[in-house]
Structure formats: structure tokens, C-alpha cells
């Protein structure tokens, strides 16, 4: 088994230090924003306002094995048991009220909440939180795309005006300007459009590097890294996108991947089966990703985070950086969960990465994340990929039976025709 990547160690160390600094900042009274992942973080970063991302915080709580307690408590608060977990876990922790139990002793009141109406429940969750804390909520509208082009990734970098629609982009830009005005009032700082353009150029540059890394991985005869390393090497820089550190790290990661490909390094020496993990991470049990290497030579060669850094983020600005940012955000989440986008993209990715088997995370009680799954499953199977449904939540481990899931997956892998080496 190859050593941990240098890039992985540096990413983890950077994040650890950054988290310490962030914690000191905000528990010391500094203003910060609490925002959903599919909102324009670039605006907050450019205004010097740190962001705690809802889904990141949710994963932190889950990784500390606290989700069971909070979801049991959720129903005692009067919320029924079929509401979304991933986006609500931080709220439930807040409502439960025992700050000593929470990571960091709980989060202080943010200066602002920010969400988008991409899912029907997001405004409900964030409204409850805003009501609880008295902090203002900035909510972006999320009208849908009437005629979505299936091959969205081929259009998104340059032809985003046509892909997403002028009226939707007009609305998004207008709301971004409202957010900027709010933040200028909160922070006392002015939003500088010229330096913002340069900042977005750096974000694009970072994502172009990730695109190169993704292509390297797709073309490698054997997967040189596991998704356990792929994910933090992408997501940590993504939370700091456009910063000097993030750009430098993206280059270091790409170069290290390239070096491993050149040297023939493989995450799993006896790689026989290439798998893709579809959906958000299984945050409470990430060791599951390596569970089939020894027994079956089955390695997870793909997770969405790296390829989406390219397809989901690169937007050439055509002289209007705020509009290009709107094009990044206006359907960010929808591209990963709604037909025809999700199914078309997954097939394209599966073919590019030579995937044999897909494990598809389907959260029963997170409808926005789960809809389109069976359409995507059918599309992948038509493309020759065997699909195994994993009916589990990303952060709620109460129904997760690892042994049973292992047996299920293993028996499917046993049935695959053996690939000749």
C-alpha cells in the first residue's frame, strides 16, 4: 500500500491550523457567516468574512459520532422523523442546547446566515436558525431551468448564459448585489469589484488545475490514490478557493498525482475492479471506501468532488465576474441531483474513468439529494456499469449496518466477470 500523499498531510495540517485560527477568531467575537455550500462563498471571502459551511459543520458533528444523539433528540423537539439530516444536523445541535456536547463548545451567533432555495426545506431550516439566534438570513431565490441541456458540463465554462438562462442570472446577480450591500453594512468594508475580478481569476485557475488532476486520474492505468485522499485534497482547498495557499496546494496535489502515475503507483496493487462512489461522503464511516481492496481488488477510483471542482466551478467571466459567479452558483447543487443533468454527467464520468461498479448513496429522508437517483442508475446500467444502491444517510448512522452492507457489496463484486490482467 503506498504511503500517504505529502499533499494529504499538508492539507490536513493546514486545515487543522486554519480551524484553530477560525475557532479562535469566531469564539473571540469576530464576525462570520454561516452558509450553505451552494451559496456564493466568494463574496464572503472577498469581504473578509470567514464562512462556516453548514455541510462542513454537519460532517464535523457526524465524524464526532454525535449525530445519533441529535437525531434522537430531533423528534423530542417536535420534528418528525423523515426530515432531511445532512442540512439540519447543525441546527438540531443548536436547538438541543447543550453547548458542551458540541464541537468547539458550539458556534457563536453568526453575523449572517445564507442559504439558497435550491431545496424546499433549506429556507425552513435557516429561518428557524435565524429566529433562534436573531441573526439575519439572506436567502437566494432558486427558480429552475426550464430546458436543461443534458451535457451541461460542455457548456458551463463558456456558454453559461445560454445554459442557465438570462432571466435566472439577472435575478441571481441582483440578489448578489443585495448581499454585497448587506455585508458592506455589517463589516464596514467596501466591495472592490476590480480586485474581485482578479480573485475569481485565481479561483478559475485553481479549478483548471483540479481539472488536470482529474484527467490524470481518469487516464491512469490504475488509480494512484484513494478517494479518502482525493476528497480532502480537493475540499480543503475548495473551502479556501482562490487563496495563495489553495492554488499552491492544487498544483502540489496535481504534481504528486502526476508523479504517482508516472511511477505506476497504485492505491491497490491488485486493482481489478474500478468503482465510483456517487453522492456526498459517508461521513461517519469513511473507512468503508477501502473495505473491498484486499478481498476483491476493488478500489474507489472516483468521487464527485474532484471532477465537480472542474465542471461545477470553472466559469470564464466574459468581462462580468459577478455574472460569472452567478453562473457558478445558480444551479450548483441542481447539477448533481436533478435529471437530465445528474444522469448524463455520471455516465460521462463513468466512461471517462472506466468504472465497473457504482455505489450510489440514496438518502431516504433527504429528498433533494435522492431524487433522480433511479434515473441515474438506469442510465449507468445502460452504459454497462453495475449499480449498487446504498440506502443510507450521509450523517445519520442509526440505520447503517456496515457488516450487512459489506456482504451485499461483496456478493455483487463476486458476481462480476473477472477482468483479464
Amino acid at each position: 500500500m503506498p504511503e500517504e500523499m505529502t499533499a494529504s498531510r499538508t492539507a490536513t495540517e493546514y486545515q487543522r491550523e486554519w480551524v484553530k485560527g477560525l475557532r479562535a477568531q469566531i469564539t473571540g467575537g469576530a464576525q462570520y457567516a454561516f452558509a450553505n455550500a451552494d451559496t456564493p462563498h466568494e463574496i464572503f471571502h472577498h469581504m473578509g468574512l470567514p464562512v462556516v459551511t453548514n455541510q462542513w459543520w454537519s460532517a464535523i458533528i457526524s465524524a464526532k459520532q454525535l449525530s445519533e444523539h441529535y437525531f434522537d433528540h430531533m423528534e423530542s423537539l417536535g420534528f418528525h422523523g423523515r426530515l432531511a439530516r445532512y442540512s439540519s444536523l447543525p441546527l438540531i445541535a443548536e436547538l438541543e442546547g447543550d453547548r458542551e456536547r458540541q464541537p468547539w463548545g458550539g458556534l457563536p451567533r453568526p453575523a449572517v446566515f445564507c442559504a439558497r432555495q435550491s431545496a424546499d426545506d433549506h429556507q425552513k431550516i435557516f429561518s428557524l436558525w435565524a429566529e433562534r439566534t436573531g441573526a439575519p438570513l439572506f436567502l437566494f431565490s432558486a427558480p429552475a431551468v426550464p430546458d436543461p441541456a443534458p451535457d451541461w458540463w460542455a457548456l458551463a465554462r463558456n456558454d453559461w448564459e445560454h445554459l442557465y438562462g438570462t432571466d435566472r442570472l439577472d435575478l441571481m446577480v441582483a440578489e448578489m448585489r443585495d448581499l454585497i450591500a448587506l455585508l458592506e453594512g455589517l463589516t464596514g468594508r467596501r466591495f472592490d469589484e476590480e480586485s474581485f475580478r482578479a480573485y475569481l481569476d485565481r479561483v478559475n485557475a485553481q479549478e483548471e488545475i483540479f481539472a488536470e488532476a482529474s484527467e490524470l486520474l481518469a487516464a491512469a492505468p490504475r488509480s494512484p490514490i484513494r478517494i479518502n485522499e482525493q476528497i480532502p485534497n480537493v475540499m480543503i482547498p475548495q473551502w479556501h478557493r482562490g487563496s495563495d495557499w489553495a492554488l499552491a496546494h492544487a498544483r502540489a496535489f496535481r504534481d504528486e498525482v502526476a508523479q504517482r502515475v508516472r511511477s505506476g503507483t497504485a492505491a491497490c496493487e491488485n486493482e481489478r475492479i474500478r468503482m465510483m462512489w456517487i453522492g456526498a461522503g459517508l461521513w461517519f464511516d469513511t473507512s468503508f471506501y477501502t473495505a473491498f481492496e484486499e478481498s476483491h481488488g476493488a478500489v474507489f477510483a472516483w468521487s464527485m468532488y474532484l471532477p465537480f471542482a472542474a465542471d461545477g466551478y470553472i466559469r470564464h467571466d466574459h468581462g462580468d465576474p459577478l455574472r460569472a459567479l452567478a453562473a457558478r452558483v445558480v444551479s450548483m447543487n441542481e447539477q448533481l441531483h436533478q435529471p437530465p443533468w445528474v444522469n448524463s454527467w455520471l455516465v460521462e464520468q463513468a466512461k471517462k474513468h472506466r468504472i465497473d461498479v457504482a455505489l450510489m448513496l440514496i438518502p431516504r429522508h433527504d429528498r433533494f439529494s435522492g431524487l433522480g437517483s433511479l434515473i441515474a442508475k438506469e442510465a449507468l446500467e445502460q452504459a454497462g456499469v453495475r449499480v449498487i444502491e446504498v440506502w443510507s444517510d450521509m450523517v445519520d448512522r442509526r440505520e447503517w449496518d456496515r457488516d450487512a452492507m459489506y456482504e451485499r457489496v461483496a456478493s455483487e463484486l463476486d458476481r462480476l466477470p473477472r477482468r483479464s490482467d
Binding site: G78, D120, K124, L139
Partner: protein
């Protein structure tokens, strides 16, 4: 038409759930949030497709079954089976309001499965109505563009478009007549004592989803005239009803064994046909966008406060909540609703999850819960 004939006609229209008359293009509407006047003014007849007649609720179209997750909204699922089973082949178009909880998924699945070639025969034109429920100038500009787009889509199926001013004025007169008739119905169901049951009001109101506004208004007026002459009013508790879209008369019957649903605020209740029906012609879109009771109403419309205000104004003794098996939105409002109602000494009874057509066991349990809550309140 006598009052009794009007009542029978309304009941029949509700049960049939099919557009009457084919002298113009029929445009299906999936749920709430579309100003029906825009469709009527384009020379088309709007007709609901979200609610299904009893003999089609359980229809299964095998070709689409494997694509439908178990957590897909029940209305979306039933609709998709019917759509690909050919139920709507007589329609020229179907409009899906993005802000209706089930409509977006129904639209996306319908368009994608059609793109994949699953439609056995020609399908209606599928149109997304992208109205945002909010108050900003940017939202208003966006919504105006959507109204324009809708007009273009209706023109493409043989309607007149964009809807000319005179046509809209004429249509709004009919909508205003309907609004007045519905207001009269509301007075009868919320009166002291009520002369019309909540179940009757739901059926007579929703019959209008398949009728021209003017005709619906005339039938309602006659029905209300008949009901106003009823000798005995209804007894029992004044009940409020909230939750997800419910159109099952048996559930109404079970709840109303304890009184009358005097304030019905679920999507098939008095929230339809929406504020656009009472608006001036040039304010139709803005009125619809300002509806605080829309499923995705933005926070600045104060949706929960609007809900509670209506329940309090109706002098509800108790409020009943119910929701579909896959609810992922209303459930977030429940604790806050309970607390706000409690401040007005109005208890909330949570009947929990239900199927589109709950069985006798569910109805019995619902009645037991309501009975226990009312007894506890009385004690």
C-alpha cells in the same frame, strides 16, 4: 339550475376531475401558484392534473415504475403514471409551478423520461411556471418575464398571446365573480353555526379546478343559496386544517365527526385559487408572488404568521395537522406552529403521516387522537 342541481354538478365535477368542454385548448395545471386568468385570457381552459380521480390513483404504468423513488411525492408519482399511461393526451399543454412542492420533480421526471423515449404517444407540451414567491423588484422583474414566457408557450399551442389587455379584463371579471362566490362559501362554512361542512367546501371549491371561472361562480352561488336555507346548522368544534395537499373526502369525514373544518389552509383548501384571482388585471402576477401561504413563500412574506392569523381569525377551537408519507417541508413548521397556536390557547393535534387514500385503520386512529386531545382539553 336549481341549488340542488348546482350542488350535484359541483360534486360530480369534483369526482370526475376532468375538464368540461373542448371548444378550446385544455391546459393542465399541476397544483397551485399559476394565475389561472393568464391561461384563460389566452383562450385556453385550465384544468388541474395534480389530483387524480379515484379510479386512477393506483394506476401503474410499468414503463416508468423503475425510475420512481419511493420518496417521490405521491402526487408526482400518481401523475407520472397517468401521464405516461396516456391520461392527458387530450391536453394541449401542462403547466408546472416550480413553487408547488411536487411540481418540479413531476416536470423534471416527465421531461427526462420523455427525452429518453418512454412516451407511447404524443404528450402535451410541458411548461415550467417559474414564479418566485417574494417581494423584491428583482423578483418582480423575473416574474414578469415568466408571464411573458407563459404567454409565448400558450400561443404555441393555439392560444392567443401574449394575452391582450381586454381579454384579461374580461377573464378577471369572471375570476372576481368566483372569488365573491367562494367568499360566500367561506362565510357559510365558518359561520356560527356553520351551514356547510369543510368537506363540502373542499369539494365545491376544487370542482372549480375543472370549470371555467364564470360557470364555477354561478354554480357556487346557486349551491350557497341552497345551503343558506338549511334549517339546522352544524354542531361541534371549530376545526382548522393544515399540512400537505389533501383531497380525500373520507379524511374530512373522519375529522368532521367532531365538528366542522372552518378554516382549511392545506393546498386543496381555501388557499386555492390564490390571491391572483382577486387582483386587478395588471397586478395578477404580483399578487400571486405575494401569497404568504404558497409552499415556498420566502421569509419576508411571513408565511407562518399568516397561517396562524387565519386560524385565529376563524376562531378555531383546535387545529389538525396531517402530512404525506414523504413530507420534507411542512414538518419544519410544526413545532413553531404548535407554539404560536398555544399562545392563543388553540391546541394542535398531529395526525402524522398518511397515504393519499388512508385506510380505515388510519382514519380510526386519527379519530382516536382527535378525541383524546379534545377530551384532555376539556378536562
Amino acid at each position: 339550475m336549481t341549488g340542488q342541481e348546482a350542488i350535484e354538478a359541483l360534486e360530480a365535477a369534483f369526482a370526475a376531475k376532468a375538464a368540461a368542454g373542448h371548444d378550446r385548448p385544455i391546459v393542465g395545471v399541476f397544483g397551485n401558484g399559476v394565475p389561472l386568468s393568464l391561461i384563460s385570457a389566452a383562450g385556453c381552459l385550465p384544468a388541474d392534473v395534480k389530483s387524480a380521480p379515484d379510479n386512477r390513483i393506483f394506476h401503474v404504468e410499468p414503463a416508468v415504475s423503475r425510475f420512481l423513488e419511493p420518496f417521490l411525492d405521491d402526487h408526482a408519482r400518481v401523475f407520472l403514471h397517468r401521464l405516461f399511461g396516456g391520461d392527458f393526451r387530450g391536453m394541449a399543454a401542462i403547466v408546472f409551478p416550480r413553487d408547488d412542492a411536487a411540481a418540479l420533480a413531476a416536470y423534471q421526471y416527465a421531461t427526462e423520461l420523455r427525452r429518453q423515449g418512454l412516451a407511447k404517444s404524443s404528450m402535451p407540451r410541458l411548461v415550467l411556471w417559474n414564479l418566485v414567491h417574494g417581494k423584491s423588484d428583482a423578483i418582480a422583474a423575473f416574474n414578469d418575464r415568466q408571464a411573458q414566457r407563459l404567454g409565448e408557450e400558450l400561443a404555441a399551442i393555439g392560444g392567443t398571446a401574449p394575452a391582450d389587455g381586454d381579454a384579461l379584463v374580461r377573464v378577471m371579471e369572471a375570476e372576481h365573480a368566483r372569488t365573491a362566490a367562494l367568499s360566500r362559501l367561506e362565510t357559510l362554512v365558518s359561520g356560527d353555526p356553520p351551514l356547510v361542512s369543510g368537506g363540502e367546501a373542499m369539494r365545491w371549491r376544487n370542482a372549480g379546478r375543472y370549470l371555467e371561472a364564470g360557470r364555477h361562480a354561478a354554480m357556487l352561488d346557486a349551491a350557497c343559496e341552497e345551503a343558506a336555507s338549511r334549517q339546522a346548522g352544524r354542531s361541534g368544534r371549530r376545526i382548522g386544517l393544515v399540512g400537505t395537499a389533501l383531497d380525500d373526502p373520507r379524511v374530512y369525514g373522519a375529522i368532521e365527526s367532531f365538528g366542522t373544518i372552518v378554516c382549511d389552509l392545506q393546498p386543496f383548501g381555501s388557499v386555492w385559487p390564490g390571491p391572483s384571482s382577486a387582483a386587478m388585471p395588471d397586478e395578477v402576477v404580483r399578487a400571486e408572488a405575494g401569497d404568504p401561504l404558497a409552499a415556498r413563500a420566502r421569509p419576508e412574506l411571513a408565511p407562518l404568521e399568516a397561517l396562524v392569523a387565519r386560524l385565529v381569525r376563524s376562531r378555531c377551537d383546535v387545529v389538525v395537522a396531517q402530512y404525506d408519507q414523504n413530507d420534507d417541508t411542512f414538518g419544519w413548521d410544526l413545532p413553531g406552529l404548535r407554539d404560536r397556536l398555544s399562545a392563543h390557547d388553540i391546541p394542535l393535534v398531529d395526525l402524522g403521516f398518511r397515504d393519499p387514500r388512508p385506510d380505515d385503520a388510519w382514519l380510526h386512529t386519527a379519530q382516536s387522537r382527535l378525541a383524546a386531545a379534545l377530551e384532555a382539553e376539556h378536562a
